[in-house]
């Protein structure tokens, strides 16, 4: 498992290093920065939803806390960005503890609704508390941070920084999953009672992973605020929390790579759609930005109905099938060459002639 993941990590690192050399357009680089920020939230959300099995439709609120924390402390109180980010992270931890301890006793639908309610409350407050958050007009003049004396002022620098954070985040998540805590989380996903009977502190683990996901979200929000230099309540409404769920679910709940894939696909989807809209116009379809919501919903529904494991696992399953067909047909031709008569059993290599459906056992 570690081996596979390190291959994935190396590919990720290499593509991050190359990307700014290929993509020189600042606009697209910006989209990739937003993609990285979404991935950061989704890693935490994936740990919470996929591994610990706790749903949250409220993580947009933690992103908002991170963004507003960093924004208010730097722009209004003149803090430098790093302590402001750290402080807003502590704030997110505090809120996660206050919310998590009672909320995580709830299950399924109740937890979904409680977190959704929480996200709405945070949004209402961010609009209404004009003295603190600037209300609907938001906060301006949020400075970019510097790192080891380099001001992260260009998009390329910020890109490298954000994606370095993403890689560290992914690496950390894998370490967590392979640790005692990670195994405990998966155990309580299966059955909380069984996990508790094996001595796993169920409530504490759930709260811990909730806090961790809030930290990921808050850091992403702080980085967002410092990147765009300006925040208002608009991007942090309930539909953002729903979009985050969509990303994790579309990519695949039970795998960090899945969450990453989902975040990449859905973050870049608007760019892709506006790119193909020129071609769609040829067919008489006038695609508008407004249709994005509908497309997100359709994708989410499609994935949940037909690929509940997400596109990452779905694609891997498909690849495995194709590979196994090749392997089987290779083996079958070898068998034919050695002129061994077929044993007539329906299992084993002799089933190679079956259509794809017959091999469905392999994608498990």
């Amino acid at each position: 498992m570690i081996g596979k993941n390190s291959v994935g990590l190396i590919i990720l690192i290499l593509s991050v290093i190359i990307s700014p050399h290929i993509i020189t357009n600042d606009y697209y680089l910006g989209s990739l920065i937003f993609t990285g920020l979404n991935i950061l939230v989704c890693i935490g959300l994936c740990l919470l939803m996929g591994y610990a099995g706790q749903i949250s439709i409220g993580h947009g609120a933690f992103v908002a806390i991170g963004a507003y924390g960093a924004g208010i402390l730097t722009a209004n109180y003149g803090w430098s960005p790093w302590p402001a980010m750290g402080c807003s992270m502590l704030m997110a931890v505090f809120v996660a503890v206050i919310l998590g301890i009672p909320a995580l006793r709830l299950k399924g639908h109740y937890l979904a609704m409680a977190t959704l309610g929480f996200a709405s409350i945070v949004h209402v407050v961010s609009v209404a508390a004009v003295d603190v958050t600037g209300g609907p007009s938001g906060i301006i003049n949020i400075p970019r941070p510097d790192l080891f004396g380099y001001l992260l002022d260009t998009d390329t620098r910020y890109f490298y920084f954000v994606w370095a954070v993403v890689i560290i985040g992914v690496y950390f998540a894998f370490n967590l999953i392979d640790s005692r805590v990670g195994r405990g989380l998966r155990a309580l996903h299966g059955s909380e009672d069984a996990a508790a009977s094996l001595g796993i502190p169920v409530t504490w683990y759930k709260v811990q992973v909730f806090i961790l996901s809030a930290v990921y979200a808050s850091f992403s929000g702080s980085l967002y605020a410092c990147y765009v230099n300006y925040i208002d309540p608009g991007p942090f409404d309930v539909s953002y929390s729903v979009l985050l769920i969509t990303m994790v679910a579309v990519g695949g709940l039970h795998n960090i790579w899945g969450a990453l894939t989902g975040a990449v696909v859905l973050s870049l989807l608007p760019e892709f759609l506006s790119f193909i809209s020129d071609y769609l116009r040829l067919f008489g379809i006038r695609y508008q930005q407004d249709y994005n919501t509908l497309v997100y919903g359709m994708i989410l529904l499609f994935i949940m109905l037909f690929l509940p494991e997400g596109i990452f696992s779905g694609l891997r399953g498909l690849l495995d099938r194709i590979f196994s067909v090749f392997k089987k047909s290779g083996q079958a031709s070898l068998e034919r060459e050695s002129a061994v008569p077929s044993s007539g059993q329906s299992s084993g290599p002799s089933s190679a002639g079956k259509p794809l459906g017959g091999l469905s056992g392999h994608d498990q």
Binding site: I55, G117, S120, T246, L300
Partner: protein, 296 residues
């Protein structure tokens, strides 16, 4: 604290509360039949409201005809949702069902935005828009319509669940699905019926509230959440509780908006929701003994 103000806030609260009550009844119906909380419940209200706007303001159909057509439209939307998204799921897990209903709500919202646009829609009141005087406070005739229609819906609800075969079958399914199936009740059909009825109630709620709040495509999430708050407050699955809790929630919200701050109005009902969920998820009318058997 002036008495007239309080009466005024009470009217406002009851008017909103009736809507929360109806949304909560919709939640309960699906919950009882399937154990699902339908996160798209608020979207039914929006669909009902917007459809009614189109029929009365654009097509100029008579109010009663438009009302009936809109309710049919809502019922059709509910059936469509159940047939297309809930029924085909072979291995339902809670997480998957929650996300599916979220997906339906996104699609409905996106579709409504494309079809009806982003603006809010005005609709004529059922009768005069002239406020009536009530001991110094004023009440809109539409509020009386809302209260009256809520009472009718509750009466129909009681009649349906106590005196019709389909209603009794649905109650049987809610109590014990396996036993109901053994008794020859088609439980899958009951699920569809629950979606149809709950969408119908949602559409009625949307129709009657639109003249006072001016419907737009984005209201579904908040209406759904507050309705869920009412359902939980009244004890999930308990419809008498839902009606009382819905009106209570509306009144508390209106008083909060009046005496604390109207900017935080939307947060008040949600804070109550969280408080109830954390402290007493069985609701104020819930029997904690019986509720212990349910999974929260």
């Amino acid at each position: 604290m002036n008495l007239i103000d309080i009466i005024q806030f009470l009217f406002m609260g009851i008017q909103r509360g009736c809507i929360y009550a109806m949304v909560a009844m919709g939640f309960n119906m699906i919950y009882n039949a399937t154990g699902i909380i339908n996160l798209a419940q608020g979207e039914f209200v929006v669909l009902g409201g917007l459809m009614m706007v189109s029929l009365t303001m654009t097509l100029h159909l008579p109010m009663v005809l438009a009302f009936v057509l809109t309710v049919f439209f809502g019922v059709a939307a509910g059936i469509l949702m159940e047939r297309l998204t809930i029924n085909p799921v072979k291995q339902p897990t809670v997480l998957r069902l929650v996300i599916i209903t979220v997906a339906v709500s996104i699609i409905t919202k996106g579709g409504a935005m494309i079809f009806w646009g982003k603006g809010s829609h005005y609709m004529d009141h059922f009768s005069s828009a002239e406020p009536l005087d009530f001991y110094g406070a004023t009440i809109l005739p539409q509020t009386l319509w809302i209260i009256g229609i809520l009472l009718l819906v509750v009466a129909a609800y009681i009649f349906f669940f106590n005196f019709t075969m389909a209603g009794k079958c649905m109650r049987a399914c809610a109590i014990n699905r396996d036993a109901a199936r053994l008794a020859g009740i088609d439980d899958r059909k009951m699920v569809m019926l629950s979606f149809a009825l709950s969408a119908g109630i949602g559409a009625i709620a949307g129709i009657i509230i639109t003249p006072v709040i001016q419907m737009d495509y984005g209201r579904g999430a908040m209406l759904g959440l507050k309705g869920f708050g009412a359902a939980v407050l009244g004890g999930l699955g308990n419809s008498t509780g839902a009606v009382v809790a819905g009106i209570l929630l509306g009144v508390l919200e209106a008083l909060g908006a009046g005496y604390i701050s109207s900017h935080y109005m939307d947060a008040i009902a949600l804070v109550i929701l969280l408080f109830v969920l954390f402290v007493r998820p069985s609701g104020i009318f819930g029997n904690s003994e019986a509720m212990r058997l349910k999974e929260f």
